[in-house]
Amino acid sequence: MNLAGIKNHFTNWRGWEMNPIVIKELRQGVRSWTVTGMLLLFLVVLFVTSIGFLLTQSFEISQNMQLGGSMFSAFMVILAGASIFFIPLYTGVRVAAERQANNPDLLYVSTLSPFRIIFGKFLCSAYIAVLFFSACMPFMAFTNLLRGVDLPTVFFILFFLFLVVCAANMIAIFLACLPASLPFKILFALGGLVASFLIIGSLVGLSFEFMRSGVGAMMTGKDFWVGTATTVGIGLMITGLFFVLSVALISPPSANRALPVRLYLTAIWLIGGIFAFIWVVQTGEAERLTAWTVPTFLIMMPALLVVISNEDQLSLRVRRTIPQSPVKRFLAFFFYNGAAGGVLWVGGILAATYSLAASAMVYFPKKVYSSPESSHWFATTAFYAFAYGLTALFIQRKFFPRRPAKLTGLLAVLLAGGWAIAPGIVLFFVNQLSWKSIDRFQPGNIFNVFSIRDEPDVLNHEVLAGIWLLVMIVVNARWLRRQILNFQPAVSGTAVSPPPVPR
């Protein structure tokens, strides 16, 4: 949409209509006995709890200064339980049912984009959350009259709880969108239930802490706002990540699924980096960068597995969108579908993170607990991960060229996992398996990097991983070059795809 289009969109605000998915989902939600039944049950529980408190507690202020606080805590637990446990489950099951149904693409026959579909599902779950929150509101407002809790604390806790519910809803939508069979989805749901109990537990603990300290009193300090903004920012980033992942999952296979995900991850990497560097400059402590480097590493490792599982051959629709300009085409190569571009993208981000972190250590040496060991650990693990990934790509290309590309990621995991387990199994059968044997240097074992303590072994690992990676780069160089050269826009009007490119 160009500037005139955006202007036109906002001038005609009277003609705006709600996302059709939201309307459909809400209509279904209102009719569904699951939602209405749960809401009624929720109200009954709140009512019975209130009655229980009022009948058993004294209203004498001198006797009970904390009645409001106690009631609020109880309501908070009930609300957290209902919203974190029920709403994500309901949302996830609904999305999964549509994906699992015998006609999964019926929703996608329309001109609705995957973005609008996922946004609609998310928005609907947020509306249901609002419904539960608003049902709880009168009870919570009542607690304020009984003392023991201040209004800022009430709103602050509710605001945080709502954000957590929204994030949980988004994760549930993502899990439901995963192309897994029903048993796997049931497993995901069970995992989600366990996770929601943990979230509820920690949230309740946190809210008790806020109630004890009183949010109103903390609001005057700068740290409170910085902490709140950071937490909210991280929460939104995580929600956004699962949002773009879900959009990519439901996009047709011929779409450029990688583009929004890689752009989003690059954007949050940049934003996170900027904030981390501001923090480093303010404190003069380079170690603060770990708040950026560690999440980057943790996200990029699974990202590497995903990108090596990309098909080499781009669909016609994607090829038609490759820019003509060489500079734009060069940039697009990193963000478009395809294993080669993906590997370079992950490599680029990790290399940039490592270089920037290393520079920061030089310029801000104060209180650096990020000893050389941690940088070795970072580099060695990254080297091994790339070496395994490129080895899997080579094996897939040479021995299973007709098999789907998603085999590559699995192959990399099997290689790394197999090589890590094999020595242990052998040692077990020769009766030599011990903690000491696990701690010992095991060449090629990516997990061994985390268990060894001797510095020479750490270096040995780094050198070995580096050499292996170099060999794999050489082995894959021709393929990589071919992929770069083949990254050309399809000529409009020719609907015939090029012959399959050998990987």
Partner: protein
């Protein structure tokens, strides 16, 4: 609206689902798409409906390529899949309303479009019923209504008559003929070939992803059965033992045989040859009360040209 399928090819891994097929049909035409299970019909239909992308080739809808401009092409196609709508907790009206909204119909235009479609597909009486509570026939009507709600020029129907009772089939057939009158270009796949013969102007017979026959129904019939079978019925008691022998000696007659109370033979000549044979028999005092050519139908042709192979 002209729909042109050009050198379409679709591969799923090693399997070639659609192998370089080309055909075209126009507004006001009902085009039958026939083939055994696994022949590539659904894949082709999904490509035309922009749900799948071809490995090679293209489909042009009035010149709009489904590969180059799928969003634009999608607005021109109404797709009725081979499965029925099964959304829970939603009424017929709300279902149609959702799709009307999804296709960007707004305000009064949307209300009018939905009402018109409900009336056309005869679901006005059940508009407030839940989808799950509907019969197969009714669900099929709703599915057709969904595909029509934004008034597309092309309709792609995948096995719409499957599982319907005879009344529902007849009603569906009438709806399709009405739609053809409204200048929609319709592509329909079905295993009920007798019905297709009645409503289709043209047909494509496909097997293992390849086209075996294509053209107008008459052309395909003529092409695949140059010989006609002629049946003769004589007045009861007038059966003459020499008739079979005499017929076999007649030019353009082959394979004369007794079939029940009739005599059947293959006519290798044209219609004037049939006239000559009839004249000759009458001259020979045979009391003929019926002399008719039995035409092959789509079912016969389908059985002749296909081998029942799947991929």
């Amino acid at each position: 609206m002209k729909v042109q399928v050009k050198n379409l090819r679709k591969e799923f891994g090693k399997t070639v689902a659609v192998d370089n097929i080309s055909f075209s049909f126009d507004s006001g035409h009902v085009f039958g798409f026939v083939g055994p299970n696994g022949a590539g019909k659904t894949t082709t239909m999904r490509i035309i409906s922009t749900i799948e992308e071809p490995t090679a080739g293209d489909v042009l809808l009035n010149g709009i390529s489904v590969c180059e401009e799928p969003e634009l092409a999608r607005r021109a196609v109404g797709y009725v899949p081979d499965t029925l709508p099964a959304h829970a907790d939603i009424t017929v009206h709300e279902y149609l309303d959702f799709y009307a909204r999804a296709y960007g119909l707004r305000g009064k235009k949307r209300t009018q479009a939905i009402e018109a479609i409900e009336e056309f597909t005869n679901v006005t009486g059940i508009r407030d019923k839940h989808l799950k509570a509907l019969s197969k026939g009714m669900k099929q009507r709703v599915s057709l209504g969904r595909a029509l709600v934004y008034d597309p020029d092309v309709l792609v129907l995948d096995e719409p008559a499957a599982g319907l009772d005879p009344r529902a089939r007849i009603e569906l057939r009438e709806l399709l003929l009405l739609l053809a009158e409204r200048k929609k270009a319709i592509l329909i796949s079905s295993h009920i070939l007798t019905e297709l013969t009645e409503i289709c102007n043209g047909v494509v017979i496909i097997e293992r992803g390849k086209i075996l026959e294509t053209g107008t129904i008459d052309d395909v019939l003529k092409k695949s059965s140059p010989r006609r079978t002629v049946a003769i019925r004589l007045l009861e008691g007038n059966h003459h033992p020499n008739l079979l022998k005499e017929l076999l000696q007649t030019p353009f007659v082959e394979n004369a045989r007794d079939v029940a109370s009739e005599i059947h033979f293959e006519l290798t000549g044209d219609e004037s040859a049939a006239c000559d044979i009839l004249g000759d028999l009458i001259a020979k005092k045979y009391k003929i009360i019926e002399f008719r050519q039995t035409k092959q139908n789509l079912e016969d042709i389908f059985m002749n040209v296909t081998k029942g192979g799947v991929q």
